[in-house]
């Protein structure tokens, strides 16, 4: 179980290699990488703000919940904050398990919870101005399936 909250970019390929070495016994590794969309060319950049005293503990609690529900041999969450441009990686989730069903389900669970329970807020800067991204009802609804 590992959590990294950072402003620096990361290399998903390197992260996957490193993660794979740590979990050599696992039969399945699932990764998800979130990338900043360019919103049809309208997005200039994005600022991600977070609550430093809460972010780590909140993500750890979500990971712990995932480990309790599925048979995971390891998990990794990386989430960036600060200024990001279209095409930049925002975050990454990796899960390792004996079988793929657990790794997939746990990765989706982590993603759903990170969306609306990890204290991050995105502000988009476009040619028309700057706007806070609003939480979607479907993001909240997505938690109900777990």
């Amino acid at each position: 179980m590992s959590v990294r909250v950072q402003s620096e970019p990361f290399d998903p390929g390197k992260e996957l290699s490193q993660f794979s070495r740590l979990v050599s016994g696992a039969g399945a590794i699932v990764t998800f990488t979130g990338v900043v969309r360019d919103e049809d060319g309208t997005l200039n950049h994005m600022m991600i703000e977070h609550y430093p005293a809460m972010t780590g503990p909140a993500i750890e609690a979500i990971e712990k919940e995932a480990i309790g529900r599925w048979n995971l041999s390891a998990s990794l969450v990386i989430h960036r904050y600060g200024a990001l441009s279209p095409g930049d990686q925002i975050m990454m989730v990796a899960t390792a398990s004996r079988h793929r069903a657990h790794a997939f389900a746990a990765a989706e669970f982590l993603m759903d919870y990170l969306k609306s329970r990890a204290p991050f807020w995105k502000k988009e800067f476009t040619a028309d101005g700057a706007y806070w991204v609003t939480a979607k009802d479907e993001d909240e609804d997505a938690l109900k399936r777990w």
């Binding site: 703000e49 005293a53 809460m54 806070w132």
Partner: protein, 86 residues
Amino acid sequence: MKKLMIDLVYFAWVRERIGISKETLETNAQTVAELIDELKAREERYALAFEDISALRVAVDQELSAFDASLDGVREVAFFPPMTGG
């Protein structure tokens, strides 16, 4: 009634509306809801930030909480809009 010293932190548009990211407040409020009423009565910018409570979330000592949560023994209260991580 015992007075509490509480650190308040604000994020995203709540921070922008209030105009500061944190402050320390001496308060008689016993719950988060009472704290919000006290803040709203202070100045227009607070009234504006707390205008629609349904658009806000609160964390008490870094844990998401309900608005009727007690402030007994609490050190930090954070106000922010629904989170948009991922």
